[in-house]
Symmetry: C2
Subunit: 181 residues, 2 copies
């Protein structure tokens, strides 16, 4: 799924500027499973507008750049709907935390402990962020999606709490092995 479809999808929920699309994708109710950058959004919007998929309304403001508010057109809606019919691609997931855990025998027990503590507070933060988003949103699709994200987050937290001792042991074992050599 490319940014083109992503912009159309967000605009299908309501008019927005490039700035707002960015915020929705990295902080709003889309943020759990999407993250687009300005460098991709602005050129995509320009092209979508040239092709008539979205229309533009300029709101001039004093001291600030002109707000360029985009709306999806009937043509754009059709392209968007057509794109929804293709089979969804597999999820993409990248985690530097898991990579670090995989290499835990190269870390000191102290480092491992710090990383795990950081992970748990990161997950708690994500979790409460999703709770917040869920409260301010009664759209059914959003409820389902945020609920999914929350379930993942809670499962991760539970796993971390149940298995942190095992992970911390890796660092301690390595020290003993090195001492024995």
């Amino acid at each position: 799924m490319n940014i083109r479809t992503l912009c159309l999808g967000i605009l299908n929920f309501g008019d927005a500027t490039g700035y707002e699309i960015k915020k929705l994708s990295s902080e709003g109710r889309f943020s759990y499973y999407i993250d687009a950058s300005y460098g991709a959004i602005y050129p995509a919007l320009t092209r979508l507008h040239e092709e008539g998929m979205i229309s533009l309304r300029e709101e001039h403001q004093e001291g600030k750049p002109t707000r360029k508010v985009y709306s999806i057109t009937e043509e754009g809606r059709q392209e968007f709907i057509a794109n929804l019919s293709v089979d969804p691609a597999p999820d993409k997931f990248k985690s530097q935390f898991l990579f670090l855990m995989m290499c835990a025998e190269n870390l000191t027990p102290d480092q491992i402990k710090k990383i795990i503590d950081g992970r748990i507070s990161y997950l708690k933060c994500e979790c409460s962020h999703m709770d917040e988003v869920r409260e301010h949103c009664d759209h059914a699709g959003s409820q389902f999606v945020i609920g999914y994200g929350r379930a993942m987050c809670q499962a991760a937290l539970k796993y971390m709490e149940d298995n942190r001792e095992f992970a911390e042991q890796i660092g301690k074992d390595t020290i003993n092995v090195e001492a024995a050599e």
Copy 2:
């Protein structure tokens, strides 16, 4: 975390060719949280070799291209360890499935059902793939990481089974709304 560090990390587990690094990252025990492409791996290995971070042993074969087997050097190991000390970046997660669910009111009940069925079999497939990887691997870090992935996968399956009716209702509601208009 860039491919450079990723290649060093995989080579720190043992010698490998570019081809094998790719397989490990998209099918092996790293695949749950990493995925690198040939187009990134080969240039990275070439550069790493030029810089003395990895050494090269060529194995000539009949009919096939020469196998270029890389090993991490002491210098490479030092760079790798140094890179493990930085705070892990937040996870990156992208899901076309969740995007589709977010837009469920634009889909027919039939489409939603098909997407959910596909999702459940995808998750089951991922889950059994992880079980398989876990069995063939008694390295502690791998156990922790695969266990994490498995926990996520099972939580996703449970959520899907508990909430599929809710999601399927979205499509049916939309039809009724449209009929009423």
